[in-house]
Amino acid sequence: MTTTLTSSAPSLGSSVEARRTGPSLPTLVGLEMRKSLSHRSGRAFAASAALLGPAGMALAATDAEFGWVAGPIGIVGSMTGLVLLALGVVSTAGEWTHRTVQTTFLLVPQRGRVLAAKSVAVAVLGAAFAAVSAGLSLAVIAAVGVADLNWDGTGQALVTAVGAGAAFAVIGAGVGAATANTPAALTSLYLLIMGVLPLVRAWNLELAQWLDPAEATMVLAQGDAEARSIAVLAGWVVVATVAGWVLTHSRPVD
């Protein structure tokens, strides 16, 4: 640490030109995207989201043959979405866990604006990383798949993977904002999707199909049960976002 200390400039604000209004929504979205990728955990989630799918496809290729593109792309979209949940959670709950939410709300007191910017930011990042993941996975499948690979429905599978990436990230941001606690949000989300919903499936298949966002992503990518799958993903996005919105507005920053 340097020991050179200097005092302030001669007259208040004369040397600094500050914006007179609050940040625009696009500025806030850009800021939130930078925040998400400004530390190692954020970059690790981003890299995992982009690379886990293709790595999984490459591993699977050692033991199985790919005959149809849309099927594995649906699985990749679902896996990537589960990773992107964490990116969303960290963008909101991480602020409360590290107490940085204090500075965030001091500079932008309109909590709804901050939350909206975070949701858009993680949706854009989620879609981008899901697109990279799906694109790389597609390349792996094309390289190791059977000679007469079935490309039917590939377009819908890719769109689903990218859309699910955005949706899962927004769901994570909503649940993170609602819980204000990163470990609690991640534990409850993964326990619910990977632990409780499979049990529900064993007990009542139809109910599970209306609740499970990971399965909804897979079947939508494969062109099945489209309306139900979109409803399931949209339902998760709405419930998580509303819960995050309500609880963020009512919570004091102590």
Binding site: R19, H39, L107, P109, P252
Partner: protein, 295 residues
């Protein structure tokens, strides 16, 4: 100007801030003093909209903090130096704040130099000491060179050089027409920095006035070559004299000038003569202890 009016915070049946009112004028440094748990931090959080008040209001230039168009350009706030993501570098942290406030990104480097953190700018905040985090928090508050500075316990973790630097910074800010609110639980940390003291205890403002008026002299201490002769002379002049430490004489209610006059008249050689300062602790006990319980 900052106006706080009847600010109150209750948690259930516990009142942590009770009808607090004051105004802060430009060109002054106000010390917000009280022991831990007195309600300083909660008051400052209500003033900045982080905690909703149960009653009362606080305004900055006539508007609630949350309705300022760009609050970071008007009020530079440091409430909790640990509220920084440990995985970001100091420079990245400040550049993110610069975007939110709407000042050029280069301001991050300028304020890092101003607080003496240039060499640590590219290190992750997780590796910073408490004093370095305080400096980083102050750097963030200075980004827009705002007219109001509000710091909660900023001296924690600072070394003596840092405390002196902070004093110069805040005095300089007030001299340029800025408004400063500085909280502390230790008078010694801020008594040479502030013009005015707001003393809070049990959630209520128990004193509000200049440092001199609240902690002014309450007698004098004198040491003389012949203490017993001077003591007799002072008694003869009508003063009550008490024995102090190390041969000193304590003269309650006397000004140093009064004692000097008696000593000069009698030709007494003085070794030391100074006013007795009341400490904040004494003042605090005096203000917060219910009458009748003092012994």
């Amino acid at each position: 100007m900052i106006t706080v009016s009847g600010l109150t915070k209750r948690y259930g049946d516990r009142t942590v801030v009770d009808d607090v009112s004051f105004t802060l004028e430009p060109g002054t440094v106000t010390g917000f003093l009280g022991p831990n748990g007195a309600g300083k931090t909660t008051t400052m959080r209500m003033m900045t909209g982080l905690v909703p008040p149960s009653a009362g209001s606080a305004t900055v230039d006539g508007r609630p903090y949350g309705e300022l168009p760009n609050p970071g350009a008007v009020v530079g706030t440091l409430l909790d130096a640990s509220a920084v993501h440990p995985g970001r570098t100091g420079r990245t942290h400040l550049r993110l704040l610069a975007t939110a406030i709407g000042v050029p990104a280069e301001r991050a480097d300028e304020v890092l130099a101003q607080v003496g953190l240039t060499d640590a700018a590219r290190r992750r905040v997780g590796g910073y000491s408490l004093g370095m985090r305080q400096r980083l928090g102050i750097a963030g508050a200075l980004l827009a060179d705002p007219p109001v500075l509000m710091f909660d316990e900023p001296v924690n973790g600072l070394d003596p050089e840092g405390i002196r630097w902070m004093r110069d910074l805040l005095r300089g800010h007030a001299a340029r027409g800025g408004t400063v609110l500085l909280s502390s639980h230790l008078l010694g940390e801020v008594e040479h920095t502030v013009d005015r003291l707001l003393v809070i205890g049990g959630g209520r403002i128990v004193a509000d006035g200049s440092v001199a008026s609240l902690l002014g002299a309450d007698g004098a201490v004198v040491r003389a070559a012949d203490a017993s002769a001077l003591g007799a002379a002072l008694e003869a002049a009508g003063f009550h004299v008490e024995p102090g430490d190390d041969g000193a004489l304590v003269v309650p209610g006397a000004r140093p000038a009064d004692i000097g006059a008696v000593a000069a008249a009698g030709g007494h050689v003085l070794l030391d003569l100074r006013p007795v300062q009341r400490g904040l602790e004494d003042l605090f006990f005096q203000l917060t202890t219910p009458e009748g319980t003092l012994s």
